[in-house]
């Protein structure tokens, strides 16, 4: 299964390197969001600073929807879904591979957004340990849920509207937890934030587990 996962992840990342969709379109979109938030919330007052963690993660959620749609539009090519079933790959491995590639792409975007927050919103970064740990856990969870719900909505005409409607309520706990963790880290009281990290870790494990178990039946007869 892990061998298949490596194969799929490598394939997804290679496609990204060739086509540069995430780097060229999704990343600028993320930075655009940061700029728009500043326009909407008056960077001179205290509002933007107080809201930064929340805005960051809301931005990540929007980016996730785009990234998930992209990762499954790759598989929408000429008969590729059938080919994956014929290929002799373990479905759990396909899930892990796509999960990993998605997580990597999201992590890159988050890193850039973090840089954007430091530069554009003039925030200093404290509690780096908590920031990184909670980002990692949150990204793993978001990527897992995104991969799972992405395949649920894949191949459908109504995909663009159905995917966000299915995925975003599910990610509500991640939004809440990650924002609180970031708040604790940035406000200098990291110890408050670690329980949130635990929640994020549980979320990620639940979704990775269920994804591996159910992906096989979801690939069938699209």
């Amino acid at each position: 299964m892990f061998r298949d996962a490596r194969l799929i992840a490598a394939k997804d990342l290679r496609i990204e390197l060739r086509s540069k969709v995430t780097a060229g379109q999704v990343l600028p979109f993320a930075l655009l969001l940061l700029v728009l938030f500043a326009f909407g919330l008056d960077p001179d007052g205290p509002t933007l600073a107080a809201a930064t963690p929340g805005l960051f993660w809301v931005g990540v959620l929007f980016v996730t929807v785009l990234a998930v749609e992209r990762t499954f539009s790759i598989e929408g090519g000429d008969g590729v879904r059938d080919a994956l079933r014929l290929a002799g790959l373990e479905p759990g491995g396909i899930f892990l591979g796509k999960w990993f590639a998605l997580a990597v792409q999201l992590a890159v975007v988050e890193l850039v957004m973090l840089g954007g927050v430091v530069l554009l919103y003039d925030r200093e970064l404290h509690g780096i340990g908590l920031l990184l740990a909670s980002s990692l856990a949150a990204t793993c969870g978001i990527a897992a849920a995104g991969t799972l719900y992405g395949v649920l909505a894949a191949g459908l005409r109504v995909r663009e509207t159905l995917l966000p409607f299915l995925l975003l309520p599910v990610l509500a706990p991640v939004l809440i937890a990650a924002t609180r963790a970031f708040e604790s880290a940035l406000d200098g009281v990291p110890s408050d934030g670690w329980p949130w990290f635990n929640l994020l870790a549980v979320f990620a494990l639940v979704y990775i587990g269920i994804g591996i178990l159910t992906f096989g039946s979801l690939l069938e007869e699209s």
Binding site: D4, V80, D82, G88, E221
Partner: protein, 220 residues
């Protein structure tokens, strides 16, 4: 010897439509069979069913010893399906695609290289993204992937379409070699003159059922 394909009253549905309405078919090892019939007769559907992609709604179906009604998954990696769809990633190059699909099937990388050369898509062409290839070149790439995987059952849907004369010759040679090596080949084609010479046995399908079989004297 157990037949490679053994279908009895097999029903295959496309949504609500019974594309296959009770197919009886037996094919033995190393046979090359031509499947002919009008448009909409169910040729492509039959190939998909034998590949384990289409659920068997009724009847019985055994391919390569696998009971398709029970669980078709084990048969998939053992068949090679060549269809209208290319089964290739457009954004990746020829070489990437061959490498990916052969690795997925646990096939030998050297086989992949040889197949590419045989089909004329190695060398300069190998580093071109599939999206930029012509139909014929894509067909050849898909065929290279199929050949490299060394399937026990070849399911070819209109394989000559889109190929130039040279491509067709290579394909025919590959089919004959594969059958000689023990693989079984089922070709669905309109091109009766070409394929008829290739395949000793002709089976006709119409309205979702087999209506004629040149091997009538065989015991089902």
């Amino acid at each position: 010897m157990e037949p490679v394909i053994h279908l009895r009253g097999a029903v295959g549905l496309l949504g609500r439509f019974p594309a296959l309405a009770g197919v009886d078919l037996t094919v033995d090892r190393s046979e090359i069979v031509l499947l002919q019939g009008p448009n909409g007769a169910g040729k492509s559907t039959l190939l998909r069913l034998c590949a384990g992609l289409l659920p068997v709604a009724a009847g019985s179906a055994h391919v390569l010893g696998v009971d398709l009604v029970d669980d078709p998954t084990p048969v998939r990696v053992r068949v090679g399906l060549l269809a209208h769809a290319t089964f290739l990633y457009d954004e990746l190059t020829v070489a990437d695609n061959v490498r990916f699909w052969t690795r997925a099937a646990r096939a030998d990388q050297a086989d992949g290289q040889r197949a590419m050369e045989r089909l004329g898509v190695a060398g300069r062409l190998a580093d071109v993204p599939v999206a930029r290839l012509s139909t014929g070149q894509r067909r050849r790439t898909a065929l290279a992937v199929l050949v490299a995987r060394r399937p026990e059952l070849w399911l070819l849907d209109e394989p000559h379409a889109g190929l130039d004369q040279e491509g067709r010759d290579v394909l025919d040679a590959l089919v004959v070699e594969a059958a000689a090596a023990g693989a079984t080949v089922l070709i669905a084609s309109h091109e009766l003159d070409r394929a008829a010479g290739l395949a000793p046995r002709h089976v006709t399908i119409a309205g979702g059922v087999i209506v004629a079989d040149s091997a009538v004297d065989r015991v089902p």
